[in-house]
């Protein structure tokens, strides 16, 4: 187990393509940090640089206080779980688990003991003599995790490990990964583009965009107080509604300008809208275009001027489609962003 320290890490591909630029991040011992962002934001590249599979153009990566820039993946003593599992197809599950240990010259009895232990924890004991091809997706995923566990590495690196599984299994494995990480307390870096996965797994969440870190913090912190408009829009489902201040009624716009000078866009989470009238904040007269019942709550799609606003309300609302409704937003539920996309604290 170890801490991981990134200082000014950058990656430039030939042709001057900047994939990752100036990443500073320190990951504490035993922490599970999730890197999340849209595809092409550099999160996988960053992970692969920590793993040693990708050369680091600039900056330093240290594991356990030691700079590992020039070290081979094997020397860094990390384990990685790949999206397509990358199990050796011609080896049995047991051989797959043993392979890394054997190559390191671990004594036979320790290898056996570690494999047995990992198989027990992951409940793959009956599969040990099968080949990867005979396993289901979820089972392969477990074996891939087993291969990481047996090594007892300094850190686990997960590269979108659940994206090849169906939704139900994904939810299940997510919980197992979290439990496993809690038990083993191994420092972990987890890459995903799925914001739900990111929110539920992370001790700390790193939102990336265009090769840079947008914001780092606990999932609730990022959800409640997103520092940029990008983070606000990326986390949460359905996504946050953004309303340009210029489109608001003059009185409301002036009021918001007074509280947060320089604001150009206000954001409202779908659950921030209320169908009952309230004091202060915003009151928007909108036409209900569509109701989407999703079980415990309902998603309401409103047309407001040229915008579509999404509201999430508990239970079944007693409004009908095409009805004109007044949506109100209490002042604390408003997120204000300046024209540069940064959060403005409202007084």
């Amino acid at each position: 187990m170890a801490s991981i320290e990134l200082k000014g890490v950058s990656k430039t591909y030939p042709g001057n393509v900047q994939a990752v630029s100036g990443i500073d991040l320190s990951i504490a011992d035993g922490e599970l940090v999730v890197l999340v962002g849209p595809s092409g934001c550099g999160k996988s590249t960053l992970l692969r640089m920590i793993a040693g599979l990708e050369a680091i153009t600039d900056g330093t990566v240290s594991i356990d206080g030691r700079v590992v820039n020039k070290e081979e993946p094997a020397e860094r003593d990390i384990a990685m779980v790949f999206q397509n599992y990358a199990l050796y197809p011609h080896m049995t599950v047991r051989r797959n688990l043993e392979y890394g240990l054997r190559n390191r010259g671990t004594p036979r009895d320790i290898v056996n003991q570690r494999v047995a232990e990992a198989a027990r924890v992951l409940e793959i004991e009956p599969l040990l003599d099968r080949r990867p091809r005979q396993l289901s997706g979820g089972q392969r995923q477990r074996v891939a995790m087993g291969r990481a566990i047996v090594r007892q590495p300094k850190a686990f690196l997960f590269d979108e490990p659940l994206s090849n599984l169906d939704a139900k299994l994904r939810g299940q494995m997510r919980i197992e990964i979290k439990k496993l990480q809690r038990t083993l307390r191994t420092t972990s870096v987890y890459v995903t583009h799925d914001q739900l996965e990111a929110m539920t797994l992370a001790d700390r969440l790193v939102v990336m965009n265009a090769g840079r870190i947008e914001q780092v913090g606990s999932p609730t912190e990022l959800y409640d107080r997103p520092q940029t408009q990008f983070v606000a829009g990326f986390l949460g489902s359905p996504p946050m509604n953004f309303i340009p201040v210029a489109d608001l009624a003059t009185g409301e716009a002036a009021e918001i300008q007074r509280r947060a000078p320089g604001v150009s866009v206000v954001g409202v989470r779908p659950d921030g809208f209320s169908l009952t009238s309230g004091e202060g904040g915003l009151a928007l007269r909108a036409r209900l275009a569509l109701i989407e019942p999703v079980g415990a709550e309902s998603h309401l799609y409103f047309s407001w001027g040229r915008h579509t606003l999404i509201a999430a309300v508990q239970g079944r609302p007693n409004v009908v489609e095409n009805e004109e409704v007044t949506l109100t937003v209490a002042p604390p539920r408003l997120h204000c962003f300046g024209s540069d996309g940064r959060r403005l604290e409202s007084a």
């Binding site: 793993a51 081979e72 094997a74 790949f82 397509n84 990358a86 197809p89 392979y99 091809r133």
Partner: protein, 282 residues
């Protein structure tokens, strides 16, 4: 086609059967001819039914050979052919899998140039470079030797290309997982690449064995000592005899004997062969 169309089925089968007959008939003739006496062909008509001389013909070929044409018995020639075919097949596989490994997995200067140079040699069959190659082999004193028979034919662009294409289909993550599992390049090759290439190797072995066995021009050039004659060129020598009729019955017996080893290899390895051609296991 799911629907049942008897007329079409009939025509298809007719064409297939006709094709099989065309291929089988000469082989059948060779087998039949090898069972007759030496004078049954003088009439110009080839007999279509087995004769009574089978045992005599085959024992002559395996035992003494045809003394009048100066060829040794078939046994040593079969052995020479076997050594050459195995040498060529194994040598080609070893060389080409290693060069494909280098080209696919190592980043060295002029890598793509190296690949294209190998690829270009596909355009140059052995016959084109046969004179310079002969000169080199002769200068190295390798005439009338097994290395002289085998080594010049070993370099193979085709097999290198096939292995390269196969290696390119192996996901990068497998290499990365191996790197994380402390497997160096050679261990990766030995533990992962080689077992995964098993079926491809088997398929190539069959093709290359037959290719090596059927070499004619090259052994004809580099061997003057009957002790190194291969069976394919030996048969040609038997058929061209001076001042007498070729003993077709004996020649055909040698042909049938020469046919057997490739047939055995193909049948024995057929399972792997088909698997290697159709399977895309990853």
């Amino acid at each position: 086609m799911v629907e049942n169309r008897p007329v079409l089925d009939f025509i298809c089968h007719l064409i297939l059967i006709a094709g099989v007959v065309v291929v089988i008939f000469p082989v059948y003739l060779a087998v039949i001819a090898s069972t007759h006496g030496p004078y049954d062909f003088m009439s110009g008509l080839v007999p279509l039914l087995p004769g009574s001389q089978a045992v005599e013909n085959y024992s002559v070929m395996l035992g003494t050979g045809i003394s009048s044409s100066g060829t040794p018995p078939v046994w040593p020639m079969l052995l020479n052919s076997l050594v050459m075919a195995l040498g060529v097949a194994i040598g080609k596989i070893v060389i080409s899998i290693l060069s494909a490994f280098a080209i696919v997995y190592f980043r060295f200067p002029f890598r793509s140039l190296a690949f294209w140079l190998i690829f270009i040699t596909l355009m140059l069959p052995v016959e084109v470079r046969i004179l310079p190659t002969y000169k080199v082999v002769a200068d190295l004193g390798m005439l009338n030797s097994y290395p002289g028979l085998i080594i010049p034919i070993i370099a193979s662009a085709t097999a290198t290309f096939l292995f390269r294409q196969f290696f390119l289909t192996i996901p990068d993550e497998l290499l990365e997982a191996a790197r994380i599992d402390s497997a160096g390049p050679l261990r990766f090759f030995w533990d992962i690449l080689l077992p995964l290439s098993r079926t491809n190797i088997a398929a190539l072995f069959v093709i290359l064995f037959v290719l090596g066995w059927n070499q004619y021009l090259w052994p004809l050039l580099v061997t003057t000592d009957p002790g190194y004659y291969t069976v394919v060129m030996g048969i040609k020598r038997m058929a061209t005899v001076a001042e007498s009729f070729p003993q077709w019955n004996l020649v055909m017996a040698a042909v049938v004997l020469a046919l057997l080893p490739p047939v055995i290899v193909v049948i024995a390895m057929q399972r792997f062969f088909v698997k290697g051609l159709v399977e895309t296991e990853k």
